[in-house]
């Protein structure tokens, strides 16, 4: 290898599939000149489990647990999107309390996802300690969600027409306490990470995504918001109970990694605001729609529903032929589109920058592979 490398100008470096910072089994084939990258080619599919094919062979309810395994970090948003799609097909109206519960738990899940991202991203940049603090906070969210949903990671909680189990007083009290706690912890994150001169130098002006590129590649989520486009499905295509809450869409200016980082951190604060408002306004009432058929058999038709997941737009495209099994379910996952810009972003950067850029995209590889 080395002998040949001496004659040629460039060499090939395999980043992954087993590499500390590819976050799962992602392989990026790099063509390098010294420490500079001339070409990057992500190779995905190591974790392909055929979720879409599974969907065609199961009935509608049986596909529910799969959604928690597509993006295990923000599983509840995926649950919600699929439920929304099928509810649209069936014409079900979800009671308000159930929508509130969905918003509260979904936003908690979003915070936990962002917290994990923050920690893991700092790990990519070489800081070990923040991830443990993030996990400490995240653990509180998991404990709270455990009380409601029964599981800690691959949630399968929402059902067609509502949620199966109600939240209790203890959960509400615990969540309020958690909101208070996390707000004080943000100060520590600020001091430890956001203001850190090394962190700023590592992230500023690196991996800039222009608005034009956002459009061309169909990026969504914090990727576009970091570039200054205030696109958030919670606001632009209001679903569930989101129109009832007051929250801001944080945007960046330059579109570099630092902007994306700041967008995510501010998003956590906004999520806390949403949860707080939802807890204050939490209505009484049923948690399940009245006429949910025991046997889900939607009429012929197709539907596309989208939610704002932690990584961007998650869309669920369900085609029904009037049978108990869906004809086709396409999962539009945000990481897939977000990762597809990596080859363009990584040209003429250092390996260290590539790791930083890859981390800032916040990919969840099982979601890409499906």
């Amino acid at each position: 290898m080395l002998e040949r490398g001496l004659e040629e100008k460039t060499y090939v470096l395999n980043l992954g599939p087993q590499h500390p910072s590819t976050h799962g089994v992602l392989r990026v084939e790099l063509e390098m000149e010294g420490e500079f990258i001339t070409k990057a080619d992500p190779d995905i599919g190591y974790g392909h489990r055929g979720h879409e094919h599974m969907a065609e062979n199961r009935n509608y309810q049986q596909f529910l647990p799969n959604l928690g395994r597509v993006d295990y970090l923000h599983a509840l948003a995926y649950n919600q999107c699929y439920c929304m799609a099928v509810e649209k097909l069936l014409g079900l109206k979800v009671p308000e309390r159930a929508e509130f519960i969905r918003v509260i738990t979904g936003e908690m899940n979003r915070i936990s996802s962002h917290l994990l991202w923050l920690g893991a991203y700092l790990l990519d940049l070489g800081a070990f300690t923040p991830i443990l603090y993030c996990f400490d906070d995240r653990e509180h969210i998991l404990d709270l969600l455990d009380r409601v949903t029964g599981s800690r990671l691959t949630y399968c909680y929402y059902r067609f027409g509502g949620v199966p189990q109600d939240i209790d007083e203890e959960f509400v009290a615990g969540t309020r306490e958690f909101i208070k706690r996390l707000r004080t912890r943000f100060r520590d994150y600020d001091n430890l990470v956001t203001k850190n001169v090394i962190f700023i130098h590592r992230t500023r002006d690196v991996g800039i995504i222009t608005q034009e590129q956002c459009l061309e590649y169909g990026l969504t989520g914090p990727m576009v918001r970091g570039s200054g486009i205030p696109y958030d499905i919670r606001r632009s295509e209001p679903y569930s109970a989101y129109p009832l809450f007051d929250f801001e869409i944080p945007i960046g200016s330059k579109g570099d990694i630092l902007d994306r980082y700041l967008v995510r951190v501010k998003e956590m604060e906004q999520s806390l605001r949403i949860i707080e408002q939802a807890l204050n306004k939490l209505p009484e009432g049923p948690i399940m729609a009245e006429k949910v058929p025991k046997r889900i058999k939607p009429a012929e038709g197709e539907v596309y529903a989208a939610v704002e997941a932690a990584r961007g737009e998650f869309g669920c495209y369900v085609v029904s032929q009037g049978e108990v099994k869906p004809y086709r379910i396409k999962l539009r996952v945000p990481s897939f589109a977000n990762l597809s810009i990596l080859p363009e972003l990584s040209v003429d950067t250092l390996v260290a920058d590539l790791v930083a850029i890859l981390g800032s995209i916040d990919v969840v590889v099982p979601e890409i592979d499906r």
Partner: protein
Amino acid sequence: MEFLTQMLGADVARMVVGLIAIIALVSVNALFLIWMERKVAAHMQLRPGPMEVGWHGAVQTVADAVKLMGKELITPTDVDRPVYHLAPIVIFLPVLLSFLVIPFSQTLIIRDMNVGVLLILAFASLTVLAILMAGWASNNKYSVLGAIRSVAQTVAYEIPLLITLMSPILMVGSFSLADIVAAQERYWFVLTQPLAFILYIVCATAETNRAPFDLPEAESELVAGFHTEYSGMKFGLFFLAEYTNMFIVSALATIFFLGGWRGPFLPGIFWFLIKVYAIIFLLMWFRWTFPRVRFDQLITFAWKILIPLAFANLLITALIMKLR
């Protein structure tokens, strides 16, 4: 002892006993430092660290060392065999020799040389040779990248390191470490040379390849850098050398800026070790707080900030010395 003295002469006997003592110190020190690093990291991260083997996991590193020794030494195919096998030894020897001139207390010094500082710095530069050997011979792209980074880094950081140390040397007028400690009778040099102290700590962190300057082994980019392909005790030697290196740079900091073995009540050796471990704690504290800098930023930092500041510091020191 006496037998040895008669046979070899006092000087050589002193060297032999000293060397044995050094090897013992190096192993015990590394075992302790690894345990300390784990504990410091753990408590900063709100977890207990090793707790199972011995009191608070104190013997955990011994268990790990036994495991490392028991492991098979895998030699990957297509490595440059002689160089590959030699590298762990080359990295370990200079580290060992540096101890010869370190004054642990007023009397506890194996050989007081009038060029002690230069000796240590010269040996310290040898480490980079070993790293380059390891990286190149491993026939692994990650290792080569790590090695190349290491060379550039050491070249960039030895200059400010030396210039920084010149200021206290200028004040003392001697390269002998014992003399430098002796000169700090009234006050520690950290009081008169605070900038030099800070610069030295920064350079020392880079010199020992510790975070935030641990680019040769940046695990999020280069997996394990230059020692990716090493296993068993060969890896163990790299590890040992890293922690011993930490001890040496901290010992230098202690000697130059914190008054060496000087201190009230306790015998000199205790004060010396307390100060050394305090500096090591500082280095560990850095590692578990900061993200890693990027390679080009590292070099820029050395040439644009450290070297000018070190020069400025040296000039001002020289000026004051001249005026006094």
